[in-house]
């Protein structure tokens, strides 16, 4: 019990910073691998020099920089600081690497090899073993994204410099500079303010124009109007010399607005953006034999990129690779993993002439496929394309709606003031309207709300949740209906030795592992994982019988390890020696124990639902196991059917991981994907769990509730301030100068409110860590 309260004992064995994953010594796969490298002196590099494939990759993806070649990879966000240190240590294993750079904001890696010694395939494999899900980036694809990001840094930095300098010249005019110097100081302010007006505020103008074109009210519309009116009035006053200049307030205000948006953008997992079809495959080249038209018929297989494959071509997909096209199988018989489509844990056997779909994985042997549908036109490609489309979920932000009402009220009052031109005079109406625009701009929407969301996102990240859409906090309202995909999300999607399996003696384990040694089948992988490395026997005439199992002779005996039957949720294996049965093994995909416990806990207070492409029988069996009513569980669903169920059921949260979940993830109010999810599923989700954080979903909901409280409180402050200050402006009790002073004061009050609430959020974070430490 004493150890249960000792945080350090429950932290990761390698980095000692983050809490351990449930039933594990480490916090992430990166730490597990690095610990292995340290203790066992594991060296991932091989002594082999660059291969032919390395040379081709260098030509197509390498960028020459002096005597070095740079390769760029998009990687998943790093789970912990130790993973970053692990990246630094990559150079220990690959002396051909001159340097390595990691861009935190874009989550991209730049790896510089000495010219002539490029090993891109090896480094790709290493990054994959760190579970960073690397994606090849061409020379120029990163440049575009990076230049946009640099432009934003440039804008924020220059605005800070310009606002600071304007302030430096403004302060002496407030504290009593000699009158003869005042005009000079004001003119210098006007001069420095010019780039702020013409360049710094461009994002606000652009957003206002686009909202005007789309006929949608946006907070940037009054912001742009207030900023432009204030600027023009200030320049007019500067020329007339009447002292009503607001350059300092305007530039400071603009800086704060853009800074808060910049911080909010940086708090989200930018790197988990929608993948393209080209980046979804481990190897950017496919072995293709052209048969599509007479002019390009080739007698041998050539390396081609995905966009160059045509209908009628023959494509060779290696064992373990993903199929890029819809087509017909030419090979004799191949086992194919279709879990992306139907959630089935076991591979399916496809015979010659069978149709195969893009996105499926080839398991048992190399597959030769005749292309029936080009890679870019398959259902799989269309699904991937869906992910990159802008989500409509953003429109549901409730505080944006309140902001819009404020904007409408503001314009209504200005119209009212215009009707009073006869009695008040045009100059007075302009002054009051300007004061109203400046004083009543909805700060809670433009400044305090993004800040509150950014803080919530940072804290959620520490708990293992990466935020893809910062506005997810507005939609995460005390979720009552939570729907889960089964395979991969709640179960591991891979077979494991059943807990009911009999004790097996070491000799038989060695025989089984020797037979399975060359097999890539999930069953072989599961057995290797369960029993670890063992000394193997020499197998003669060993072979894999597609759809059945493996067989071969060991020490003069003929052994067969065959799959006897596919049961609900697993498979039964039988080992025969000289055709006599000696052992029976059960394999199943029954679910992670920590996840099952977390689900039972969630089930007490919320309604859970199961959606799966897997068979209805298996889904119902699993539902009963975790105490979910069978009426809440659906099996055999296609991606479109899942979408339909989500639309009808309207759950508050949907958790899914496969390509078949993409449509449902995009449609759900709040969608969550685990770290092991397909790249396209992660890109379609609002939140990504860095590990199996299902047991922390409750804490995530608390953060959501807390951040909503902050935004609500900020809105209340903002509304009270807007009503009183707006009324004062309309009745001419404050002039634009006072409005310009009041506005930053209200912004500071809102910032302070956000900061106070952040302490509460930190408490949640601390209590969550303690609770994880107590229940590792």
């Amino acid at each position: 019990m004493t150890a249960a309260f000792n945080l350090s004992n429950s932290n990761c064995d390698y980095c000692r910073i983050n809490p351990r994953r449930a039933a594990d010594l480490f916090c992430c796969d990166g730490c597990a691998l690095l610990a292995q490298m340290e203790h066992k002196k594991l060296d991932p590099s091989s002594d082999q020099g660059p291969s032919l494939e390395d040379q081709k990759l260098t030509l197509d993806f390498g960028k020459q920089q002096g005597g070095l070649t740079a390769f760029y990879f998009q990687v998943d966000p790093l789970a912990c600081e130790a993973c970053l240190q692990g990246l630094v240590r990559v150079r220990e294993f690959y002396p051909a690497i001159r340097d390595i750079e990691w861009d935190r904001n874009l989550s991209s890696l730049k790896i510089l090899f000495y010219h002539g010694q490029e090993l891109p395939t090896q480094i790709y494999g290493f990054l994959k073993s760190l579970k960073l899900n690397p994606k090849w980036l061409s020379r120029d694809s990163l440049h575009k994204v990076r230049s946009v990001h640099r432009q934003r840094i440039l804008r924020i930095g220059l605005l800070a410099a310009l606002a600071g300098n304007i302030m430096m010249f403004a302060v002496p005019t407030y504290v009593g500079i000699a009158p003869e110097w005042k005009p000079l100081f004001e003119h210098v302010q006007g001069l420095i303010f010019l780039p702020v007006l013409l360049w710094g505020a461009l994002p606000i103008y652009q957003s206002a124009i686009s909202s005007f074109r789309l006929r949608q009210l946006s907070v940037d519309l009054p912001l742009a109007l207030a900023f432009l009116s204030g600027s023009l009035l200030s320049y007019a006053s500067l020329i007339q010399g009447n002292g009503q200049i607001y350059f300092d307030s305007l530039s400071g205000f603009l800086f704060l607005i853009l800074l808060s948006r910049f911080l909010m953008e940086n708090s989200i997992a930018n790197s988990l953006r929608a993948p393209t079809l080209e980046t979804l495959f481990d190897n950017p080249y496919f072995k293709v034999r052209s048969c599509s038209n007479r002019a390009s018929i080739t007698s041998s297989f050539e390396d081609r990129q995905i966009g160059e494959i045509q209908v009628g071509d023959l494509v060779q997909v290696p064992q373990g690779g993903r199929i890029p096209v819809d087509g017909v199988l030419i090979s004799e018989g191949v086992e194919i993993d279709t879990s992306w489509l139907d959630g089935e844990s076991l591979p399916r056997l496809r015979m010659k002439g069978a149709s195969v779909s893009a996105g499926a994985k080839v398991i048992s042997a190399n597959a030769l496929i005749r292309v029936e549908c080009e890679p870019l036109k398959t259902d799989f490609a269309k699904l991937i394309g869906e992910v990159s489309k802008v989500s409509e979920k953003l429109g549901t932000s409730w505080e944006a709606k309140v902001g819009n009402w404020l904007v409408l009220a503001c314009f209504g009052l200005i119209l009212f003031l215009m009707t009073q031109i006869g009695s008040l005079g045009s100059s007075e109406v302009f002054k009051r309207s300007l004061a109203l625009l400046i004083v009543a701009c909805p700060c809670a929407v433009s400044f305090a709300a993004p800040m509150a969301r950014a803080r919530a996102s940072f804290i959620a990240r520490k708990l293992g949740f990466w935020i893809r859409d910062p506005k997810v906090w507005d939609r995460l309202r005390d979720p009552q209906k939570i729907a889960f995909d089964k395979t991969g999300t709640l179960t591991e999607g891979i077979l494991k030795l059943s807990q009911d399996s009999p004790m097996i003696d070491e000799h038989l384990k060695r025989i089984i592992l020797s037979l399975e040694n060359q097999s890539q089948h999930p069953i072989a992988e599961a057995l290797r994982k369960a029993w670890g490395q063992k000394e193997l026997f020499e197998v003669s005439n060993g072979r894999e019988v597609v759809g059945q199992g493996v067989e071969g002779s060991i020490n003069g005996h003929f052994y067969e390890l065959h799959r006897r039957a596919v049961t609900t949720g697993g498979a039964q294996l039988v080992l025969r020696r000289d055709h006599r049965e000696v052992l029976e093994l059960d394999m199943d995909d029954s679910g992670k124990p920590e996840v099952l416990a977390a689900l039972k806990e969630l089930q007490k207070t919320r309604s859970l639902y199961l959606l799966s492409g897997d068979t209805t029988t298996r889904v119902h069996t699993f539902a009963r196991k975790i105490g979910v009513p069978v009426s809440h569980a659906w099996g055999g669903l296609t991606p479109q059917e899942k979408l339909k169920v989500i639309q009808e059921l309207a759950p508050d949260v949907y958790v899914g991981d496969g390509t078949n979940d993409v449509l449902a993830l995009r449609s759900a109010t709040v969608s969550v994907a685990p770290a092991s999810a397909a790249a396209e599923a992660k890109a379609a989700a609002d939140l990504v769990m860095m590990g199996s954080e299902v047991h922390r979903l409750g804490v995530l909901f608390e953060i959501g509730a807390e951040s909503r409280k902050v935004v609500q409180r900020n809105l209340q402050i903002s509304l009270i301030y807007n009503v009183f200050a707006g009324a004062a402006a309309v009745f001419g009790m404050i002039n634009p100068l006072v409005a310009a002073v009041l506005m930053p004061i209200s912004s500071l009050a809102l910032g302070f409110s956000t900061l106070m609430a952040t302490r509460k959020l930190r408490d949640i974070e601390r209590s969550a860590q303690i609770s994880t430490a107590r229940n590792p």
Binding site: R91, K110, Y114, L154, A161, M168
Partner: protein
């Protein structure tokens, strides 16, 4: 107060100098990787192929 005639141009020149330095830093990618340099300094000296070649040349 005449000193202000000197101070204002100096201030503005200094500002332009720092803004110029910031522009150069951003455009040359100085903010792209703000994490690795500190860690590289902490990690032990790692011999690369290039270091080996340089040693041979000496």
């Amino acid at each position: 107060m005449n000193v202000l005639l000197l101070m204002i141009p100096i201030t503005l020149t200094l500002s332009f100098f720092f803004v110029g330095a910031f522009l150069w830093a951003t455009r040359s990618g100085q903010w792209d990787d703000v994490d690795m340099a500190a860690r590289k300094a902490l990690s032990e000296d790692i011999k690369t192929v290039g270091d080996h070649d340089e040693t041979k040349q000496h």
